[in-house]
């Protein structure tokens, strides 16, 4: 939920409660004042009637407003509400009724005076209407104020949010946030800027550490590999030779792995100078180089050239890109299968026969995800990284029992 919506919602909710309480208070207050006034009026009328009785001894009778009757009863005066049918209005009306017992000129009188009371329903209704009107007006005004505030006050905030969304550690660019002119936002910006600077520098030092570690590992690995290779030259019993070879193989694997990781880092760091090259030529060269392997697996190649695919890339990277894809197409093929290569002006596609089920499309480009037990699991990760750093997109599809890798310009 947006901040504004949330604030507005709680505003609305609390003002509704306040208004309901206000409505009740208003009702009781107005009711009280109104009936007070009426009773005061009734008392005044009663005093006049008593005065009239004393002076003229006439008995006024005006039903239902005034009733005077002689009575033996005496008692204290009392006020009550009563509902009486009003013949003039033709309906039941609520009256405020004052009953007094007076002794005037030796006679006892029971004086009943009534006045139409204000109807509660009407009070409630009018209060409710006026308060609702105020409420709506208030909300309307708030809405427009918020809306214009969003444009003026919140705009820099959203702009900064966009800048933050585009922030990437790998690009290693400092972020510069807009000044908002609002203390809280500017404070937040300050904290974010400091945080990203710290994260960036931590990331850089971590990367440097990894790089240096990778490089430093190469020298001891060289010593291990060279010495093992020398021992392999000796005329040792087969059992020993096998053990040494296994050790050598593992060390070699470690070293290759390390080299591939260094390569990945270098691609990420954009340490390769790009130049314009046609991938058509690279693909043909690689195909030529892989020919013995293709022939020994009895694979048929369908090579289609619909255009020249020009990319800006270091030649060594282009070779790795094409080589890894073609090697996979050969390695994961079946005997007598085929490989389709299609180059257009906008990209190229390599399809191969192989296992009759699709690969897990989103996982295969991750590091150390292996299709089979051999291999390092870095080939496609390197391919993907090369694509990403050169404005290319790679996609894996499986259709017609063929595994296809498509590289296109973004």
């Amino acid at each position: 939920m947006r901040l504004l919506k949330k604030i507005n919602r709680s505003y609305l909710f609390s003002s509704a409660i306040v208004l309901i309480i206000g409505l009740l208070a208003f009702y009781f207050l107005i009711n009280r004042i109104a009936s007070g006034e009426i009773i005061e009026g009734l008392h005044a009328s009663e005093a006049r009637i008593v005065h009239e009785l004393e002076q003229h001894k006439t008995v006024l009778h005006l039903y239902p407003l005034i009733e005077v009757e002689e009575t033996q009863k005496t008692g204290p005066e009392f006020v009550k509400d009563t509902t009486i049918f009003d013949p003039i209005e033709g309906e039941n009306e609520v009256f405020e009724e004052l009953n007094t017992f007076r002794k005037v000129n030796g006679k006892n009188y029971h004086i009943t005076i009534r006045a139409l009371s204000v109807e509660k329903k009407d009070i409630v209704m009018s209060i409710f209407l006026s308060i609702t009107a105020i409420f709506l007006l208030l909300f309307g005004v708030l809405y427009f104020i918020n809306k214009s505030a969003t444009y003026t006050v919140w705009r820099p905030f959203y702009q900064n949010l966009t800048i933050l969304k585009n922030f990437s550690l790998e690009e290693n660019r400092e972020i510069t946030l807009r000044k908002t002119g609002i203390t809280e936002f500017d404070e937040l910006n300050g904290v974010i800027t400091k945080l990203t600077e710290k994260v960036s520098s931590d990331y850089l030092s971590l990367k440097e550490f990894t790089e240096n570690a990778s490089h430093e590992i190469q020298t001891p690995l060289s010593v291990i590999l060279m010495n093992l290779e020398e021992v392999l030259q000796k005329n040792l019993p087969e059992e020993e030779l096998t053990k040494i070879y296994h050790t050598y193989e593992a060390a070699k694997r470690l070293s290759t792995l390390n080299q591939h990781l260094i390569l990945l880092t270098k691609i990420e760091n954009k340490q390769f100078t790009a130049k314009e090259i046609f991938l058509n030529r690279i693909i043909q060269n690689r195909l030529e180089a892989l020919k013995p392997l293709i022939e020994s697996a009895n694979l048929r190649i369908r090579f289609e050239e619909q255009g020249n695919f020009l990319v800006s890339m270091h030649e060594a990277l282009a070779e790795i890109l094409v080589n890894n894809l073609l090697s996979n197409a050969i390695k994961h093929n079946v005997k007598g299968g085929n490989i389709g290569i299609n180059i257009s002006g906008n990209g190229f596609k390599i399809c191969n026969t192989g296992k009759e089920e699709p690969l897990r499309g989103n996982e295969i480009f991750n590091r150390f995800v292996k299709k089979e037990s051999h291999g390092l699991g870095l080939g496609l990760a390197i391919v993907k990284r090369i694509c990403e750093t050169h404005n290319l997109k790679i996609r894996y599809t499986f259709s017609g029992k063929k595994h296809c890798f498509t590289v296109t310009k973004v």
Partner: protein, 225 residues
């Protein structure tokens, strides 16, 4: 042939030295920039194997000095940083070749021999092994008088074996020699096997004997018996 090996990692320095001595070179060791400078001031070398990252200086600076001093030695740069920039700078400065750690000793041997051939230090550009005769500059190989029709990779393979005869060459070392560091491991051995089989077939067809022995599970060895 006299070689100066400049390398700060003592273990590596010794291993390389022992290997090259066995290959028939006269070797001198320098384990620092300072030591190397000292030796270069006094002696002449045919080949200098130069590690770029030295604790007391940059190998590339030493390379500049060597070139300025009109030293005619062939120079092979060694680096643990497989950085193309270092490579380009090194070659621009006049180094003859560039090799990345970790490297195979057989690979080092091949590179040294190639530099020597290019510089014609050993007078001949021909390599002879039994009935084989290789002309590396022309990329040609003969069995007796018969020319072998080899693909570039097959030729490189034969040259690698002849250069490193009587030595077990692991499949890894062969694959790396032929295709560099970045080819996927899995198909490399199939690939070595395929190339080697084709080469053997062609040699037999031309009437040569197959001196390449399979060292089971490890690699191959060209034996002169």
């Amino acid at each position: 042939m006299k070689i100066l090996i400049v390398e700060d990692e003592k273990n590596l320095l010794e291993t390389v030295t022992v290997f090259l001595q066995k290959e028939g070179f006269v070797c001198e060791m320098a384990d620092s920039y300072f030591a190397a400078e000292d030796k270069l001031a006094v002696f002449d070398y045919d080949i200098i194997i130069l590690d770029i990252a030295l604790p007391d200086g940059n190998g590339l600076d030493l390379l500049r000095k060597i070139k300025v001093s009109d030293n005619s030695a062939g120079i092979l740069i060694v680096s643990s940083r497989n950085s193309l920039d270092d490579k380009l700078v090194g070659l621009d400065l006049g180094a003859d070749d560039y090799i990345t750690k970790p490297f195979h000793l057989s690979e080092l041997n091949s590179r040294i021999r190639a530099v020597l051939r290019r510089r014609k230090f050993n007078g001949t550009k021909e390599l002879v092994f039994r009935e084989f005769r290789l002309l590396p500059e022309q990329w040609e190989a003969f069995v007796g008088d018969k020319k072998l029709q080899l693909t570039p990779k097959e030729y490189e393979l034969l040259l690698y074996f002849v250069t490193n005869k009587n030595r077990v060459l692991t499949r890894q070392s062969i694959a790396e020699h032929l295709w560099g560091d970045y080819m996927d491991m899995a198909d490399r051995f199939d690939f070595v096997y395929t190339h080697l089989n084709n080469l053997r077939k062609k040699i037999r067809r031309s009437g040569g004997s197959d001196y390449i022995k399979t060292v089971y599970g490890i690699g191959y060895k060209m034996e002169a018996e």
